[in-house]
């Protein structure tokens, strides 16, 4: 269907090529995944295939045709859903469909037939007169897909269709796309979620413009057979177990999974004894199936190790087992829409507490109230016993906040950002200089100090944002989607720091839409439509949904089952037209 031959793309004014020498064949009747973190080149590759960009070198042939030269022939054959779905939010569902049908020359009886088929397929028939802007993320995504399918394409290009969509809708979409592939359409699905790669028939695994792997996902994971293990029945501190394991030369990667620790061993090493990790007498090493993410980590040369220089330099905080953050009946209304609806929870010192949920569920709104950035409509938030309604600024001095998308000053240099953020938190003189120097050493900023922050790779921006949030030695750290869009190795490094700081007594409250990251948390609250629908340790939540058919559910399974078990999860209820949290 599509032949890529050493395709390259350089953008003017950027030092690194966006794509370097991609060669691959894409077949009809299958889903091909473009998998990789932000900046991997996924969107560039899709745009090249859609004929929106011209390759700098190499060639692309779609059924033997060139996407630029034969554009008029190919446009009828390609369905393209850009990021954000390309919908007109001020047009209704039907008007959006009509526009695209007119543009693609779908008329008369064929048109009404196609409309009926697609509306039924996407389950949007009930909503034809609703404005696209008032649809939920999942429904927007379905409408975007329906628009892309109007011309009855042979090749379907989907650019990150899973972003901003809750896991339930994502699963539905996979079902729909699988059905399309069964009809013989070639589907290209780009995603930053590595677990989605395993659902594709073949994948192009990408990182920073490089093609790391091309083939069937099972082929990649099978190389890792007998190297993935779980340490179960840990009686000591699992974070210390992980840190110890990651420092060993025979361990390539490791993550926390609830009460267990999952390890990926380097090739050709002897099985370690779990007792060597201080995991207690009952600890056992159980082989588990390798995952696609393991393969990605291996392709990038392994994880970052378990030692956090950052945590090492922190002053320890005495663990008094106090409740440090508390939300009581916390509610925030935007108009008549409740972004946060009577949320209650308490976080103890030295805990990692996770707010988990899809985009728009109300995580960030809850978060901003806890940091004193938003005033609750009703209810109370206390941080270290300070009421945020009356003395938000006093509480803010005690906490570190790392905002979504890292709110750094893009046109300041790395050093200027460090000086600014340490300054506003009251560090000055020699103490400030010492702290900035210390951060520079910890995160290896030496060569970057004079660089403008905008020009840094995403991973460094994330490190800088973390540095800026912790310089004043906060007792509580608020992290709002700290790892979104970042590659898995950088994510590992980030969690190493977080784990290390928690061991020093720092309390961490984190939001994430990566279900697997929730496993790092001591306790999590599942947020959906502004409410906490379940709370507990990761293992408790998973155990709640375990069945005989699925005895070992994933966090995502738990989330989906718990949401669907809600009384009347009214899916016809639209998400707010504007993103209430921004």
């Amino acid at each position: 269907m599509v032949c890529l031959e050493s395709v390259q793309k350089h953008f003017k004014g950027s030092a690194k090529p966006a794509l370097t020498g991609f060669s691959a064949d894409i077949f009809p009747g299958a889903i091909t995944g473009l998998v990789g973190p932000d900046g991997a080149g996924k969107t560039t590759l899709i745009r090249l295939m859609a004929g929106l960009l011209t390759p700098s070198a190499g060639s692309i042939r779609i059924q033997g045709l060139d996407p630029i030269a034969d554009a008029s022939t190919l446009r009828g054959m390609i369905g393209y859903m850009p990021q954000k779905f390309g919908l007109y939010e001020d047009l209704t569902v039907l008007e959006n469909l009509q526009l695209h049908a007119d543009l693609r020359g779908l008329l008369g009886e064929q048109r009404s037939h196609t409309f009926n088929r697609l509306l039924e397929f996407t389950d949007l028939a009930r909503f034809t007169s609703r404005f696209a802007g008032k649809l939920s993320g999942g429904m927007k995504q379905k409408l975007g897909l329906a628009c892309a399918l109007l011309g009855q394409p042979r090749l379907l290009l989907l650019d990150e269709p899973g972003v901003g969509v809750d896991p339930i809708s994502r699963r539905e979409l996979w079902k729909m796309v699988n059905a399309l592939a069964d009809q013989g359409i070639a589907v290209i699905w780009s995603t930053a979620y590595l677990d989605e790669a395993e659902l594709c028939q073949q994948v192009l695994l990408m990182n920073e413009g490089q093609l790391l792997f091309y083939g069937r996902p099972a082929e990649l994971t099978s190389r890792l057979q007998d190297r993935a293990f779980q340490i179960r029945n840990i009686s000591g501190n699992r974070r210390k177990v992980l840190a110890l394991a990651l420092c060993r030369p025979d361990v390539m990667d490791g993550v926390i999974q609830g009460h267990n620790v999952r390890l990926l061993l380097r090739p050709h090493v002897a099985l370690p004894d779990p007792r060597e990790f201080n995991a207690g007498a009952n600890a056992e090493l159980v082989p588990v199936a390798p995952r696609f993410e393991d393969a990605f980590i291996e392709a990038l040369g392994g994880g970052p190790g378990g030692y956090s220089e950052l945590a090492h330099r922190l002053q320890p905080i005495i663990d008094d087992n106090d409740t440090v953050v508390e939300a009581v009946g916390l509610t925030k209304l935007f108009g008549d829409f409740a972004a946060t609806d009577h949320v209650n929870f308490a976080v103890k010192r030295g805990e990692i507490f996770g707010l988990l949920g899809p985009n728009g569920a109300g995580k960030s709104t809850t978060f901003r109230m806890l940091c004193g950035l938003l005033k609750p409509t009703s209810g109370n938030a206390h941080v270290l016993g300070i009421d945020l309604k009356s003395s938000a600024s006093l509480a803010r001095q005690q906490l570190g906040y790392m905002a979504q998308k890292f709110s750094l000053y893009g046109n300041l240099t790395v050093k200027q950002n460090l000086m600014f953020f340490s300054g506003i938190y009251g560090l000055k003189g020699r103490q400030q200089q010492a702290m900035v120097d210390s951060m520079t050493e910890v995160f290896n900023f030496q060569a970057l100090l004079a660089r403008k922050t905008d020009t840094l790779p995403l991973g460094f921006k994330q490190r800088l944002a973390l540095a800026c949030a912790v310089m004043h030695g906060p007792a509580i750290l608020f992290l709002d989607e700290p790892t979104s869009g970042v590659d898995p190795v950088t994510r590992r490094e980030f969690w190493t720091h977080i784990n290390g700081m928690v061991e020093k007594g720092v309390t961490v409250i984190v939001t994430t839409h990566f279900m697997d990251e929730a496993e790092y948390c001591d306790r999590i609250a599942l947020v959906f439509r502004g409410q906490i629908i379940a709370a507990g340790t990761p293992d408790q939540l998973k155990a709640q949904v375990a069945t005989t058919a699925n005895p070992d559910p994933t966090m995502e399974d738990a989330f989906i089952t718990l949401v669907q078990s809600q009384p009347n999860p009214d899916l016809s209820n639209p998400a707010p037209a504007h993103k209430a949290t921004s």
């Binding site: 745009r47 859609a50 004929g51 929106l52 960009l53 011209t54 630029i68 554009a71 008029s72 446009r75 009828g76 390609i78 393209y80 859903m81 850009p82 990021q83 954000k84 779905f85 390309g86 919908l87 007109y88 939010e89 001020d90 047009l91 008007e95 009509q98 526009l99 695209h100 007119d102 543009l103 693609r104 020359g105 008329l107 628009c147």
Partner: protein, 377 residues
């Protein structure tokens, strides 16, 4: 590439654009509320005529001659006269801005007046130089009043007849010389500039920001269709606005209209095309709504306000700035509008303006067409 225009696709795109205009409250405000608001501001708020200027008269001499002279001032509809007997009292009133200027009728006024020959009698006129327009008005008016008073006196005394030759001023095209009659047609230019350029500066950039442009580019839409679909709906909107303004001007603000509507429509279309072209050019090249709106404000609105001759006389600008005004499309439309409203269809003026407006429309739309790419680079 498919170069032909498909009417079906064009109609679909225009339909979409129209729905977006109708549903976007800010478009409606800019197109219909703002013009009427601006017209009333320009119609009633800005007035370059000095009516009822506050002046003072210091009557140091209270003789009948002096009073007679002062009576000339009291009777004028253009003046609001305060009388004081001492200079110091008047100075205070001047400092407190109760008067804009004053005339002193000195103690020896009547004596000097009666003296038939001898050196001319000086009268002190003080004006507030911090408001130069008013100051010169006060000065001129008092000079006129003095002259008038002298003539009257001579007439009454029958000593010498009035001079053989007198000036008979007539204001053509705007008989009562009301500034509103030329400000309103000019202000319609400003309104059309705002609608044409500001609205369109947003539309293409909005498609880029919301990611819908990518979806359009991946469909079989051609460049011409894309461009026309952005021009036509906004052209209709602008023309409706133009005629709304003219209706408000003529029927509510009582501005005389002497030209023909057909000519107005023709020249209005040319000017609107130039404005739309400029807005689209900015939107297409900047791809960011905020930047495009800022640029539209600076590139279209401010020149239209300052350099079109609408308020500020072009002939009194420095030569370099005067030369620059020839590049401002609003200049030609201001001339055309003032001509159509006040003088009627004066073809040499209107054709000249039309030619320049046509050139600028072709320039801006042509540039937009060049900048519109069927791709993302």
């Amino acid at each position: 590439m498919n170069r032909t225009i498909s009417l079906r696709r064009l109609r679909a795109l225009c339909h979409k654009e129209t729905l977006q205009i109708i549903r976007d409250p800010s478009s409606n405000i800019i197109a219909f509320v703002l013009p009427v608001l601006l017209l009333f501001i320009f119609g009633y708020g800005i007035n370059l005529d000095s009516t009822a200027v506050r002046i003072g008269v210091v009557l140091e001499d209270t003789s009948p001659e002096a009073r007679h002279f002062a009576d000339n001032l009291y009777g004028s509809p253009y003046l609001d006269v305060t009388t004081q007997l001492t200079r110091s009292a008047m100075e205070e009133a001047m400092i407190a801005e109760q008067v804009r200027g004053f005339i002193v009728i000195p103690v020896d006024f009547s004596t000097k007046l009666k003296r038939a020959a001898g050196p001319a009698t000086p009268l002190l006129v003080v004006t507030d130089g911090s408001a130069p327009n008013t100051a010169s008005f006060v000065q001129n008016y008092l000079r006129g009043a003095w002259h008038e008073g002298l003539l009257q006196r001579a007439d009454e005394q029958g000593k010498a007849a009035a001079p053989n030759i007198t000036l008979e001023p007539r204001f053509w095209f705007n008989a009562s010389a009301e500034s509103r009659n030329y400000l309103i047609p000019g202000s319609i230019t400003i309104i059309i500039t705002v609608i044409g350029t500001l609205l369109t500066s947003l539309v293409v950039a909005r498609e880029w920001e919301r990611g819908t442009m990518e979806a359009l580019l991946a469909s079989p839409v051609t460049r011409t269709e894309l461009l026309l679909s952005k021009l036509l709906p906004y052209y209709v909107l602008g023309i409706i606005s133009l005629f709304l303004c003219v209706a408000v001007a003529v029927f509510i603000l009582d501005i005389p209209f002497r030209g023909s509507l057909l000519v107005l429509w023709g020249i209005g279309s040319l000017f609107l095309a130039s404005c739309l072209g400029m807005g689209l050019l900015l939107s297409t090249s900047l791809r960011n709504q905020f930047n495009a709106a800022q640029a539209a404000l600076n590139a279209a609105f401010l020149p239209a306000l300052m350099l079109s001759g609408f308020i500020y006389e072009i002939r009194s600008m420095p030569t370099a700035v005067q030369a620059f005004t020839y590049l401002v499309p609003a200049r030609y439309f201001v001339t055309a509008m003032q001509t159509i409203f006040q003088a009627g269809n004066v073809w040499p003026v209107l054709l000249n303006s039309s030619l320049f407006l046509l050139m600028s429309s072709v320039f801006f739309i042509g540039m937009t067409a060049l900048k519109t790419r069927r791709g993302l680079e």
